[in-house]
C-alpha cells in the first residue's frame, strides 16, 4: 500500500512531507535517548517482517503491515520509525519512493498513533490473553483500514481518474484486513503473556530535544 514514485503531484507530495515532518518532530521529542535502541529494533522488525513474512491467503500471500502493532508498542515514536523503515524500503527495494516518502510516512504513521491512543491503555489494563488478542486484532484492523483510507485519499487528490485504482484495490484490501487482524492479535496476545512491558511507553508527546 505504498504510493509509488512520481504518482503524487507536487502539491500533494508537499502536503504529505509537511505533515510527516510535523509527526517526525513530535515523535523524536517523545523518544528519549534510552529508547533509541528499542525504536530502532522495531524499525528493523517492521522492515524485515514486511519483506520476509508471507501469510498465505487464498492462492496468493500477503505480508503483514504491522502499523497497528507499531502504534501499540511505540506511540508517537512510530512516526520516525516508519520514516526510517520506509526510507530503507525505497532505497533498497524501490517500494514507495523519495518524493512520496512524506506521504507514505503519513499513511503508515498516522494510523499507528491513532491506535496508540485507542488501544494501548486498554491493552495494558486488560485481564487476559484472550482480551489482548481481540484488542490487538482491533488495532490491526483499525490501523490498516485507516491507512487504506489515507492512501485512497492521497490518490484521489492526486487525480480524480486515479480513483479507479482505489476501486480495484478495495476488494483485496478488505480480504487482507482479516489476516492482518488475526496476525496482530496473535502477536499482541503473545507479548501480553510473555513480555507485557512491551506496551509500556515511558512518555508520549513531550518536550524533549531533537538531538
Amino acid at each position: 500500500m505504498h504510493i509509488t514514485e512520481g504518482v503524487a503531484p507536487a502539491s500533494v507530495a508537499a502536503a504529505g512531507a509537511l505533515l510527516a515532518a510535523g509527526g517526525v518532530v513530535a515523535g523524536l521529542r517523545a523518544m528519549k535517548d534510552e529508547q533509541i535502541p528499542r525504536a530502532a529494533i522495531m524499525a528493523s522488525a517492521i522492515f524485515a517482517a514486511s519483506l520476509l513474512i508471507r501469510l498465505p491467503l487464498g492462492p496468493s500471500s500477503v505480508h503483514p503491515v504491522l502499523n497497528g502493532l507499531a502504534g501499540l508498542l511505540l506511540g508517537w515514536a512510530a512516526v520516525p520509525v516508519f520514516l526510517v523503515a520506509l526510507f530503507l524500503q525505497a532505497l533498497l527495494f524501490q517500494f514507495g519512493g523519495i518524493t512520496t516518502l512524506g506521504l507514505n510516512t503519513v499513511v503508515m504513521g498516522a494510523p499507528a498513533v491513532l491506535c496508540y491512543y485507542g488501544f494501548n491503555r486498554s491493552l495494558r489494563r486488560c485481564g487476559s490473553a484472550r482480551a489482548a488478542f481481540w484488542l490487538g486484532a482491533a488495532a490491526g484492523v483499525t490501523a490498516l483500514l485507516f491507512s487504506f483510507l489515507l492512501w485512497a485519499g492521497a490518490l484521489v487528490l492526486s487525480g480524480k481518474s486515479l480513483a479507479v485504482i482505489v476501486k480495484l484495490a478495495l476488494v483485496p484490501h478488505l480480504a487482507i484486513l482479516g489476516v492482518e487482524g488475526a496476525f496482530t492479535g496473535f502477536v499482541s496476545a503473545f507479548l501480553f503473556r510473555v513480555y507485557p512491558r512491551a506496551f509500556e511507553i515511558p512518555r508520549t508527546l513531550g518536550t524533549g530535544t531533537l538531538s
Binding site: A189, F190, R193, V194, Y195
Partner: protein
C-alpha cells in the same frame, strides 16, 4: 530395515556463496541405532551438513537418500522432517511459542495429530527429559539448561527415527550436562551428534568423524 542405512549421503557438495565450498564430496551413512559424533573447527560446516540432511539447504551436487528414497525437492523433505528431529545449535531458535506446552505440541500438530494425541505426546516427551511439570512455563523465561532439555522434548514428541543434535551439551552446567548425557545413552534412535567436546562424544557415541577442509575423516580417539 536391518542393514539398509537410514540416511545416506553421496558425494555431497555445498557452498553458501560463490566463495570456496563448505562441503566437498562428503559421504556419510547412518544405520539404525548408531550414534555418530561429528567434530570440526568453528565454521567448518557441521551445522550446514545437518541442515542439508533435513532439506533446509539444498546441495550444489551429490545425492541425499533417506529412509531408502532419494530426496531432492522441498516436498520430498516433508516426510523427512516428520521422521528426523533436528536440535538447533542455539536453543533460542528452537523455542518460539509462548509456553512450553504449546511449543512441544507444535510438531505433533504439524504431523496431523489430534489435540488429544498431541497433548499426550507432550506429557510423555517432557517426562522423558525430566521436565514434567514445566508445561505452563513461559519458554522465554527458562534457564539455558532447561531450554536445551525442552528443545530435546520438542523433538521426542514427534517420535522421530533419527536425531541430529547440534552441540546438545554446550553452555550447560555439570548437572544438566550429565542429564543430557544419560538421556542420549538411553534413547534408541540413531543419532548424529555435533560437539566441540571430545570427552562428551567419547562417552556418548560409537564412532566419531571430523570435518576439515570440507571433507569428512574418521577420527580415532
Amino acid at each position: 530395515m536391518s542393514d539398509e542405512p537410514l540416511l545416506n549421503l553421496h558425494s555431497l557438495s555445498f557452498s553458501h556463496t560463490d566463495a570456496e565450498p563448505v562441503l566437498a564430496e562428503v559421504d556419510l551413512a547412518l544405520r539404525a541405532g548408531e550414534r555418530i559424533g561429528l567434530q570440526g573447527a568453528i565454521g567448518s560446516g557441521k551445522t550446514t551438513l545437518l541442515h542439508l540432511v533435513v532439506g533446509l539447504l539444498a546441495p550444489d551436487r551429490g545425492r541425499i537418500e533417506i529412509f531408502g528414497k532419494p530426496r531432492r525437492e522441498e516436498h520430498d523433505f516433508w516426510e523427512v522432517r516428520e521422521r528426523v528431529g533436528l536440535l538447533f545449535q542455539d536453543p533460542d531458535d528452537q523455542l518460539f511459542c509462548p509456553t512450553v506446552e504449546e511449543d512441544v505440541a507444535f510438531g505433533p500438530l504439524n504431523q496431523g495429530k489430534s489435540r488429544e494425541a498431541a497433548h499426550h505426546a507432550v506429557h510423555e516427551a517432557l517426562a522423558l527429559v525430566g521436565m514434567a511439570g514445566l508445561e505452563h512455563r513461559i519458554t522465554h523465561h527458562l534457564s539455558g539448561g532447561e531450554k536445551r532439555l525442552v528443545s530435546l522434548a520438542t523433538l521426542l514428541a514427534m517420535h522421530p527415527d533419527v536425531l541430529l543434535l547440534d552441540e546438545p551439551e554446550n553452555g550447560l552446567d555439570p548437572p544438566s550436562y550429565e542429564r543430557v548425557q544419560n538421556l542420549l545413552l538411553s534413547l534408541p534412535q540413531a543419532m548424529i551428534i555435533v560437539s566441540h567436546n571430545a570427552d562428551f562424544l567419547r562417552a556418548v557415541t560409537h564412532r566419531c568423524l571430523c570435518l576439515a577442509g570440507g571433507r569428512l575423516q574418521n577420527k580415532s580417539w
